[in-house]
């Protein structure tokens, strides 16, 4: 360095040392060569294949290859552009994550893993607090083997079919939403029933399922999985769900005379109720269709679900879907749920006479006539012994609550309170329906029912309801959304705000309502939504009257009424 012969720093004599340029050149060559050799060796090396059960904490950040079957997912977060699914081999299960570009590539190439797929993938392990996951390196490091589908009957689905891709046919027997994001559709064929699980992430990725209703015949392809020992069919893609032609029913209607050959099958029967007998755990109705007789056995829990159980009387025409069984030599049909039973026609009607009320002439809302004389009663005198009696009550509405099938009005006549149960199909034809609010005076003719140890009066048609006087209560001012708390549970409130979002669930719509103080979810059951569906839109301002509820730990308002 410099012009010195001897380095004053380290004492080295310059002329006797190895020229620096040789050292520099050697380092350059060795450095380049080393990296080239390393890259060459790396190209030839295989990514290590690892069993999920062998993954341990010291392997954090290791780049590995995994094979297995997708057991859960995909769970899609559109905001974060991430996908999550779970893969299992014979040693364990691991979560797999994809982000941003990788997620988009998988979606665009329709290469998103679904339950039942066999996959081979490469990615980097991430282990945190003993929880292991793997981040997929790139979309082309994921190889999928889609399963082949096999047709199966619902009753035949068993543990051996777990993660198999099967095709079934059935009628839609039930639709429910155990929690937001999952819809369970019960399918029934002639052999049994099975739940089909529809994850909202599938709809987010691929679009909504085709619309369907109770009783529709459908063909579904899905993967069998187990939820706590209960089998279910997990839908992988909306295209796997098809509606069947009306002309090819899944469960056929069978004459009663043929039932002896259908034991343990699910069938549809119809006929006239000849006898009705209660027993400790339910009700047995003997049904006859001129070819034979069968006992229709309705367990108490099914009866409790039925809104019109009181119409199961001698002479009524009934249709039922249920499993055929034999009990003490007698054939029985056992429906599973209320929706399996339909009253086709009530028994032949008798005249109604009301001594006091100005009862309007019957309309054509239902082609029925009352079978008994309606008696005006004070609410305080009604007891359980009055069950099935036709009564007239009059009082002030102290409360109006929505439920999935209609409205429940608490009517107080000064001697007591009773629930007046207005079914949606009845209320639809009531011209003053919007006036049925707290404070209004109502006269109702209907049959007394007992439900959950509570007395109800159930009008059969719109004309059975009469508005005596409108409410004079001053409508409350809307409350700030943020002021709602758990102290308001089950209370009627009025809130006002701007609609931020409208989303579907099986029984109606969820609406996110926002005011200056905050936002809250408002549940509109179908009966409420139908009345406002043409006016309700994102960005619009609405006032909602409803009851504060707690759903999955969060406050919501179940709307009785939506005003604009």
């Amino acid at each position: 360095m410099g012009t010195l012969d001897k380095c004053p720093y380290c004492g080295a004599e310059v002329q006797k040392r190895l020229p620096m340029r040789y050292v520099r050149l050697a380092c350059l060559i060795l450095g380049l060569l080393g990296v080239v050799i390393l890259v060459y060796a790396a190209r030839g090396a295989q990514t290590p294949l690892i069993k999920i059960g062998n993954i341990g904490a010291p392997m954090n950040y290791a780049y590995v290859q995994l094979t297995g079957t997708v057991t859960r997912g995909p769970i899609y977060d559109a905001d974060a552009q991430s996908l999550r699914f779970y893969v299992a081999d014979d040693t364990g299960e691991i979560q797999v994550n994809t982000f941003r570009d990788v997620t988009l590539q998988l979606i665009q190439s329709e290469h998103v893993p679904a339950i039942g797929d066999k996959i081979t993938m490469e990615g980097a392990l991430r282990i945190r607090d003993e929880f292991a996951s793997v981040n997929l390196a790139s979309a082309d490091k994921l190889q999928l083997e889609r399963p082949t589908v096999s047709e199966i009957r619902l009753a035949d689905v068993g543990y051996d079919d777990e993660f198999h891709y099967v095709k079934v046919r059935g009628d839609v027997r039930d639709i429910r939403q155990p929690y937001q994001g999952l819809t369970l559709v019960t399918l029934g064929d002639a052999t049994g029933e099975l739940d089909m699980a529809v994850n909202s992430d599938v709809e987010k990725l691929y679009g909504a399922l085709p619309a369907f209703n109770f009783g529709d015949g459908v063909e579904v392809q899905g993967v069998v999985s187990y939820y706590r020992d209960t089998p279910q069919l997990v839908l992988r893609h909306p295209r796997d769900f098809k509606q069947l032609d009306e002309n090819e029913p899944v469960v056929t209607t069978v004459k009663l005379g043929e039932l002896a050959t259908r034991i343990n099958q699910r069938v549809r029967v119809s006929g006239e109720i000849m006898r009705v007998a209660k027993f400790s755990q339910g009700l047995r109705a003997t049904v006859n269709d001129d070819t034979g007789e069968v006992a229709l056995v309705l367990w108490q829990d099914v009866l409790n679900q039925m809104a019109n159980a009181s119409q199961l009387v001698t002479g009524a025409q009934v249709q039922a879907l249920g499993k055929v069984s034999e009990f003490r030599g007698e054939l029985e049909v056992l429906p599973n749920r209320a929706s399996d039973i339909q009253i086709l026609a009530p028994p032949v009607a008798q005249n109604i006479a009301t001594p006091q009320a100005n009862v309007p002439a019957p309309t054509a809302s239902r082609a029925v006539t009352p079978t008994a004389v309606a008696v005006a009663r004070s609410v305080g005198t009604l007891t359980e012994d009055d069950k099935d009696s036709l009564v007239i009550v009059k009082g002030i509405i102290s409360r109006a609550d929505t439920f999935s099938k209609g409205m429940r009005y608490t009517v107080d006549d000064g001697t007591g309170t009773v629930i007046v149960l207005g079914w949606s199909d009845v209320l639809e034809d009531v011209p003053f329906r919007d006036a049925l609010v707290e404070g209004a005076t109502l006269r109702v003719t209907g049959k007394v029912n007992v439900f959950n140890d509570e007395l109800e009066v159930v009008p059969a048609r719109a004309n059975d309801m009469e508005l005596i006087e409108v409410s004079h209560l001053v409508p409350p001012t809307p409350r700030a959304i943020a002021s709602l708390s758990s102290d308001d549970l089950d209370k009627q409130v009025l809130i006002k705000g701007t609609v931020q979002e409208i989303s579907d669930f099986s029984a109606g719509k969820y609406v996110t309502l926002q005011d200056d103080s905050g936002e809250i979810q408002v549940t509109l059951f179908s009966n409420v939504y139908r009345r406002v569906q043409n006016k309700l839109a994102v960005g619009g301002t609405v006032t909602v009257r409803g009851k504060v509820n707690l759903f999955r730990g969060k406050l919501e308002v179940v709307a009785d009424e939506v005003l604009f």
């Binding site: 380290c10 620096m20 390393l38 341990g56 010291p58 290791a62 780049y63 982000f99 003993e130 490091k141």
Partner: protein
């Protein structure tokens, strides 16, 4: 009172680290790795909060004491490498002890900074994380760009022609860029096709860092005929309070920046902070590097305990996070208190160990020390990562020697982590790896 039982664990951790910090190239992550591995494989013979505090004590002790081996034994890691040059300058001026004490003062300042920040840290770092998280990839990219652009040529003044002068200037710069690229490729290979056994993946970078930083220093020591002059152990330190304050402040900026940002090491943080505060004096620089190093190691671990913020940064926290998650504000403030306690303990240990190191270098030829260091380095690499690790170390060593012989920055070797992580954050890691054919 419920956390009082953790004090002995922290103190034991500090004492353990203080012993091991003297061993050249024995990185604290190696020791932590042993403990983590034992905790995992031996049915958690020590686990939970006790393990966490033991590791906390270790990292505090190491952060304070590793300067001794870096300066006296010439075996720095990625974070001490910037202390070593001025530190060795002091060593050759018989003031090695002073250099060590200056870094210790910086470390004490780092403890003060942590205590002052502790009440507001959760909110502060949580908010910073929320704002900056989507931008990490380009922030790392600007750090890389600055590192490369801000390296000024050291030669170029004596060539006869323009071309000769340009070549003289750019050979160093070019070597720097080449060092960055080669170390970046090395990092990418380690990320996707590491020859290190899977069971030791958490030590993936160990052989690379040893080869890029420690071995070149040791080889340089062996090649030169440096004789360490008699060392003077002063009773006072030539550093006025304003200088100490400036150094601590500058180091705190750099250290906290490095503690918070992924991939950024204490050296990079100290380098940036030094530029930002326009340091010129070696003493300020050494103090700032002491604070930066301390806050980088300990700060990253401290962030791990932050309630609600949930920041895992740094090798130690990253390793511990695989088997443990801290809970609650009580544990957090206990950790802060133990950092202070163990930090002060470490400082006093530092004074003692520095004297031991002075005694050692004056009685044992520096070359012998460096030779032993080299053997220890190879042994540590082989113990943890096997033959694959030795191969990586051998490949990394000439890359690490490039800056030494071509006059460029050793910091360019940090491409080994900067390149793969930045590419991955931008979603380009697998793409580039595919270009190289390694994936």
């Amino acid at each position: 009172m419920e956390y009082l039982y953790l004090v002995p664990y922290a103190v034991v951790g500090t004492l353990l680290a203080s012993t091991l910090a003297l061993v050249p190239a024995m990185h604290v992550y190696n020791i932590a790795g042993i403990f983590i591995w034992l905790a995992v494989s031996a049915q958690k013979f020590i686990g939970g909060d006790a393990l966490a505090m033991l590791l906390l004590g270790m990292i505090v002790g190491y952060a304070m004491l590793n300067t001794v081996s870096a300066i006296f034994l010439g075996a720095p890691d990625d974070s001490t490498v910037f202390i070593v040059l001025p530190g060795q300058k002091y060593l050759l001026m018989s003031r090695g002890f002073e250099a060590v004490v200056l870094t210790g003062i910086g470390g004490l300042g780092g403890i003060l900074i942590l205590i002052v920040l502790s009440p507001i840290a959760a909110g502060l770092f949580g908010a910073l994380r929320t704002i900056l998280f989507p931008h990490l990839h380009w922030i790392l990219a600007v750090i890389i760009v600055y590192m490369l652009m801000a390296e000024w040529p050291k030669g170029g003044d004596r060539g006869a022609t323009r071309g000769a002068r340009l070549w003289d200037a750019w050979k160093g710069l070019g070597a720097g860029i080449l060092t960055f690229i080669l170390s970046g490729i090395l990092g990418l290979v380690l990320m996707y096709k590491s020859p290190i056994p899977l069971e030791y993946s958490f030590q993936n970078l160990l052989p690379a860092f040893v080869g890029l930083f420690a071995v070149p220093w040791v080889l340089e020591n062996l090649a030169s005929s440096t004789e360490i002059p008699k060392q003077y152990i002063p009773t006072t330190i030539d550093a006025p309070p304003s200088m100490i304050a400036r150094g601590i402040f500058s180091g705190a900026l750099g250290g906290l920046f490095a503690a918070f940002f992924p991939v950024v090491t204490g050296g990079i943080g100290g380098y940036l902070a030094g530029h930002a505060t326009a340091q010129r004096d070696d003493r300020v620089f050494i103090i700032s590097q002491g604070a930066s190093k301390f806050l980088y190691y300990v700060g990253a671990f401290w962030l791990f305990f932050l309630p609600t913020a949930g920041i895992t940064k740094g090798g130690m926290a990253g390793m511990l996070a695989t088997i443990y998650a801290p809970q609650g504000a009580g544990l957090y403030y206990t950790a802060v208190a133990l950092i202070a306690l163990c930090g002060v303990l470490s400082f006093f240990l530092l004074l003692g160990y520095a004297r031991v190191a002075v005694w050692l270098v004056q009685r044992v030829n520096y070359r012998y020390i460096s030779l032993v260091t080299l053997f220890i380095l190879c042994g540590v690499v082989f113990w943890f990562t096997g033959v694959g690790g030795i191969a990586i170390m051998l490949i990394a060593t000439p890359i690490g020697v490039l800056p030494v012989v071509w006059g460029s920055r050793r910091m360019n070797c940090l491409g080994v982590i900067l390149v793969p992580i930045t590419l991955n954050l931008a979603g380009l890691g697998p793409t580039v790896a595919q270009w190289l054919g390694i994936v």
